[in-house]
């Protein structure tokens, strides 16, 4: 059983407080969806958990399996089992996907890394995700469409076998077919490995594929409202303002 616990976390960027006394705990086998209007700190949350140095922790703690990881480096967090699927994965010219993925898997597996199983796994995953087989020899996300970039994130997730998965608007820029492939692939991984998943989304449509146990609505840098999947449907129908108002928030 793995867990990620966030306790009284206050975070600022360039002097502006984005997260304020934020609390959340997610455990293996749980899927949490974070929703909320723009600028409420959803993406900040995922980046802070991953260790992005642009975000300064003013107070509070992040625990992985009971151990405080506030001062842990980004790569150490990743090797621990935390994975961030990014909203807009960066393109890196010149660095091939093959080199990048091999380095990432080797960093995780160390001396246990074996090339042949790695190559077979890549073949299997590119088929599963309906990706072009030549993507492996192209630059990382270089010339990739929005959909291809998201699929590349999911491919990395499968290769790195994380226990805590953060998905930041993994549905943005996806057409209906790609959304289905990405959503179903995340669920397949969930069913195989039972990780803890924290996903940030604006739209209910992703939740048709990735079924959350908990929905949290963020407002003002904190969770203002939590519920089950019916909350997402209500938001889709009424909008954030109305739902929050009915719950007694200003």
């Amino acid at each position: 059983m793995n867990s990620l616990k966030i306790e009284n976390l206050t975070v600022e960027v360039e002097g502006k407080v984005i997260l304020k006394d934020f609390n959340l705990e997610i455990k293996s086998g749980e899927i949490h969806a974070i929703m909320g209007p723009n600028g409420t700190g959803k993406s900040t949350l995922t980046k802070v958990i991953m260790g992005d140095a642009n975000y300064k922790i003013i107070k509070g703690k992040i625990y992985y399996n009971g151990e405080v990881i506030n001062k842990m480096k980004v790569d150490e967090r990743a090797r621990l089992g935390i994975f961030l699927g990014m909203q807009m994965p960066i393109a890196i010219e010149g660095v091939t996907n093959a080199d990048f993925l091999r380095s990432a898997v080797r960093a995780k597996e160390g001396d246990n890394f074996k090339l042949l199983p790695f190559v077979k796994k890549i073949d299997e995953l590119t088929n599963k995700l309906h990706m072009s087989s030549d993507m492996i020899n192209r630059g990382v996300n270089d010339g990739f469409s929005g959909g291809e970039r998201k699929k590349n994130e999911i491919l990395q997730m499968y290769l790195l076998k994380p226990t805590i998965i953060l998905l930041d608007e993994i549905d943005s820029g996806l057409d209906v077919d790609s959304l289905r492939i990405v959503g179903e692939s995340v669920m397949d991984y969930y069913n195989e490995e039972k990780p803890a998943i924290l996903l940030v989304t604006h739209y209910q449509r992703l939740l048709d594929y990735i079924k959350p146990d908990f929905i949290h609505i963020m407002s003002g840098g904190n969770i203002a409202l939590s519920g089950d999947k019916s909350l997402a449907l209500e938001i889709e129908k009424k909008g954030y303002d109305k739902v929050m108002e009915e719950d007694g928030h200003e």
Binding site: A78, F83, L160
Partner: protein
């Protein structure tokens, strides 16, 4: 494939075809300058390998004749280099140069003369600088519809101080030229690096571009790689390899070996 070896004793062709001729002579014994004259008369490839040169200066003149397409793949390893290059391109000729440098110190002057209409040069230089490295370029568009693409990329480490000075000239009346310069230095030291891009264009009917960038790898690139479990040193090694191998076809493996040498 033609193969020219240059060392302290001069230059000699290890392999050669009928499309290339070579003359090596002492230009000045007093100044210790050697001249290498190469004439390319038919489509061909030339590999130039320079190894551990110390006290000899070289003048290299390369003539590409009418309509000829040629590739030159050059690799300089170790040594302290003082080289001057003069390229002369005749009408409808095309010269693609890939140059990989792993020198101890270097000072180069490159003069490119695009003498015939529609002559085109693609110049792609990659270097890992560990000491003083200075590259001066003079690119003369002496005929209409000529094209120059001068790309200089360097990674500056240890005691490196890298400098690229590129000046391109288009006189009045020389029309429809395409003049491009791009230089980027990844400076991984506190030392000073310099890029001076100059475009001296005296004609309106010309397309001219330049870009110059000195800095480190972007935070976002490093963060992305680290977020996949790759440590910072390995991330920098990957990015350096990507940066230096992009656009290079022939000496890719040599670049990878050099990177392994410095980044482990």
């Amino acid at each position: 494939m033609n193969r020219l070896k240059i060392n302290n004793n001069g230059g000699y062709l290890e392999e050669a075809d009928e499309n290339l001729s070579l003359v090596v002579e002492d230009a000045s014994k007093f100044l210790n300058v050697q001249t290498v004259k190469i004439k390319i008369s038919g489509d061909t490839d030339l590999v130039i390998e320079c190894e551990d040169i110390k006290d000899v200066k070289f003048d290299i003149c390369i003539n590409v004749l009418n309509g000829v397409h040629a590739n030159i793949y050059e690799f300089k390893n170790k040594g302290k280099y003082k080289f001057q290059y003069k390229y002369y391109l005749e009408s409808d000729s095309y010269l693609n140069i890939e140059k990989v440098i792993n020198a101890d110190r270097i000072h180069e002057m490159t003069i490119i003369n695009l003498n015939g209409e529609r002559a085109k040069i693609d110049y792609n230089l990659k270097s890992i600088s560990k000491n003083k490295e200075k590259y001066n370029f003079l690119v003369y568009h002496n005929a209409s519809k000529t094209v120059s693409n001068i790309i200089n990329n360097g990674v500056n480490i240890f005691d490196g101080e890298m400098e690229f000075n590129v000046s391109s000239f288009v006189p009045n009346g020389i029309r429809k030229c395409d003049v491009n310069q791009s230089a980027r230095i990844i400076n991984m030291t506190d030392n000073t690096c310099t890029i001076k891009p100059n475009l001296f264009i005296d004609e309106e009917d010309v397309v001219a571009n330049h870009s110059a960038l000195i800095g480190t790898f972007s935070f976002d690139e490093i963060f992305y790689l680290e977020s996949r479990g790759i440590n910072k040193k390995e991330a920098e090694s990957l990015l350096t390899k990507g940066f230096l191998t992009k656009g290079i076809n022939y000496h890719k493996e040599a670049i990878k070996e050099i990177i392994n040498q410095y980044w482990g």
